[in-house]
């Protein structure tokens, strides 16, 4: 039989070896980044390398957090990501409701277009965006970033919201309608409250996309008071002398929000990740 004790033990050991090797592949680079952010800039590439050395200090963090300009990057990133999340969630609830509960003439084609938007390369949109955003008079503003990011968050969010609403029985909203509630009342009073898990998944995923965006933040902002954390890191890299420890400290701090969201809302985060490929 397959199940002799010895064989199971051998398999268990093999699985554990693979498990730990995999964890090293995934986790060690991150550990090294965090450890290096506590070193002095001189010790970053010391030979032989050590995970923690005598130069351990919080200096790099102090330098980053004590610099008002870099704090501004964080403020901008938070503000833009939160605004994008709110706008995306509201818009996708409305659109998802429409796709899930109504039959209308152009439904199929509109649905296709929204799925298709995911495949439009950001670089294709970038050339005309520059002119368009200037023409709209919102170049170098939060509005430019929020609106552009929504183009990349919305289609995903709508697909997820529609999917979520589809899992809820229609009898539910029909009961409210018969009682005299309009469709809008039905949506906000009935569907939205019970769709909270889906909404959280959409929100967490949207926040991550917005927090991480780089290309448009680079091209649509000009002054440092409008720039976000990824651009702040990019600016540090462009300097002549690399302040490695500060760059790494900024990276660690810049990863924290998404990391915290991931750890707190793991289930929803994962639901967002797999929404595109796994049909519920």
């Amino acid at each position: 039989m397959i199940g002799s004790r010895r064989q199971i033990l051998v398999r268990k050991i093999l699985i554990w070896i693979a498990l730990i090797l995999g964890a090293c592949f995934a986790g060690l680079p991150v550990v090294w980044m965090v450890a290096s952010s506590f070193k002095s800039n001189l010790e970053i590439f010391a030979y032989p390398p050590a995970l923690i050395d005598y130069s351990f200090s919080f200096d790099a963090y102090r330098a980053v957090l004590g610099d008002p300009q870099r704090l501004r990057f964080f403020f901008n990133s938070y503000l833009v990501a939160i605004l994008v999340t709110i706008c995306t969630v509201v818009t996708s609830i409305l659109a998802g409701y429409s796709f899930s509960r109504y039959d209308f003439r152009f439904k199929k084609i509109l649905n296709l277009i929204i799925i298709g938007v995911q495949s439009v390369p950001p670089i294709t949109l970038m050339i005309p965006y520059f002119g368009l955003i200037v023409w709209l008079g919102i170049y170098n503003s939060y509005a430019a970033l929020v609106l552009t990011y929504m183009v990349f968050t919305l289609s995903y969010a709508i697909i997820m919201m529609t999917g979520y609403f589809n899992t809820l029985p229609r009898d539910l909203d029909e009961a409210v309608m018969i009682d005299g509630g309009g469709s809008f009342v039905t949506l906000w009073r009935i569907l939205v409250p019970i769709s909270l898990p889906g909404i959280v998944a959409v929100g967490v995923y949207t926040f991550m996309l917005a927090w991480n965006e780089f290309l448009f933040a680079l091209t649509l902002t000009r002054t440092n008071d409008m720039r976000t954390v990824p651009i702040g890191i990019h600016l540090l890299m462009g300097q002549h002398s690399f302040e490695w420890n500060q760059m790494l400290a900024l990276s660690v701090l810049g990863s924290l929000p998404v990391l915290v969201l991931f750890l707190l809302f793991q289930r929803y985060f994962i639901a967002g990740m797999s929404a595109g490929s796994v049909k519920g």
Binding site: G22, A23, V30, I127, L132, L215, M273
Partner: protein, 308 residues
């Protein structure tokens, strides 16, 4: 859907019907407005630019040139180099993502592991996904630096003869950025496969075992076919996303050295914002869009089939 409300007055019914026809569009209007202004219009603009010479910053008046720009781009050696780098980058990424993602998913799905162990390792395995491309770029520039820890370990183990210039050696750079992209992207597969594996009914395996199948046969004849729809949509989506990738390459190698890691997106960016050849940049942008659209059509089809 039939009418939910029963209203006796005929005028009211007509009004209700009209409202019902109009409502779905009203709910969609913010989305449609945004997508029209920020997707449809820009795509049409890029298309127009690609047919014209002397666009944007240029003292000469714009001139309609038809498909000349396409001819110029498609026969250009730099473009072909960037295209082949892009395809290599994307195809290798997709293939290795698949292998790593599926291996980790099978590992985490093992019945020999307790739930807590699985939960902890799942978090570790998904970790790379949490980091944004610019931070991943910094992280790997730190590790792959000639004096970095990767070279130290490989040298100590005798796997490399000397300190390697992973990101600045023409022969190594493309594989190095592909490796970084592999590290950054496999969790997407892992998570989808984990969800997929949990959806495979246990009795399929039971009957497979009764028929005398060993673990490898069960994997080949049950697991893989069951995961097929997920595999297809994952691969297509990932292929599109990898072609979109700009930040990672821009911040690790910038397309260099000597264009050895130049992909279509960095090439477009340089054509537009360094050389100010907006017509050429728009033409390349249209080519990328065309590639992605073709793949997207297959993706939508595969999603449809999964729906039915």
């Amino acid at each position: 859907m039939a009418q939910a409300r029963k209203i006796s007055e005929p005028t009211n019914i007509a009004w209700e019907q009209r409202k019902r026809r109009f409502l779905p569009y009203a709910y969609l209007s913010p989305t449609l407005l945004l997508l029209a202004a920020l997707t449809v219009v820009p795509i049409l603009t890029v298309f127009l630019y690609s047919l014209v010479d002397n666009v944007i910053v240029n003292p000469n008046p714009p001139q309609f040139v038809g498909l000349e720009n396409y001819e110029e781009v498609l026969t250009n050696r730099k473009f072909r180099g960037a295209l082949s780098n892009t395809l290599y980058f994307a195809l290798v990424s997709v293939a290795v993502h698949f292998v790593i993602g599926l291996s980790f998913a099978l590992l985490l799905n093992s019945r020999l592991l307790g739930d807590n162990v699985k939960a902890i390792f799942r978090v570790i395995y998904i970790l790379p996904w949490v980091f944004t491309a610019s931070i991943i770029a910094i992280l790997w520039r730190l590790l792959l630096n000639p004096h970095g820890v990767v070279n130290f370990v490989l040298l100590e183990l005798g796997l490399v003869p000397e300190l390697m210039e992973w990101l600045s050696d023409r022969k190594l750079a493309l594989n190095a950025v592909t490796f970084i992209n592999i590290w950054a992207g496999y969790p997407f597969y892992l998570v989808s496969f984990l969800a997929g594996l949990q959806g495979i009914p246990e009795d399929l395996y039971e009957s497979g075992r009764v028929d005398g199948g060993n673990a490898w046969q069960l994997f080949l004849h049950i697991t893989l076919p069951q995961l097929r729809p997920i595999i297809i949509s994952l691969a297509l989506l990932d292929f599109i996303w990898t072609i979109h990738q700009f930040t990672l390459i821009w911040m690790t190698t910038g397309g260099g050295p000597l264009r050895s890691t130049e992909v279509l997106s960095t090439y477009t960016y340089k054509a537009a914002f360094s050389s100010h050849e907006y017509s050429i940049a728009s033409t390349i942008a249209m080519v990328i869009l065309a590639i992605c659209t073709v793949v997207a059509i297959f993706y939508v089809r595969s999603q449809r089939m999964a729906d039915e």
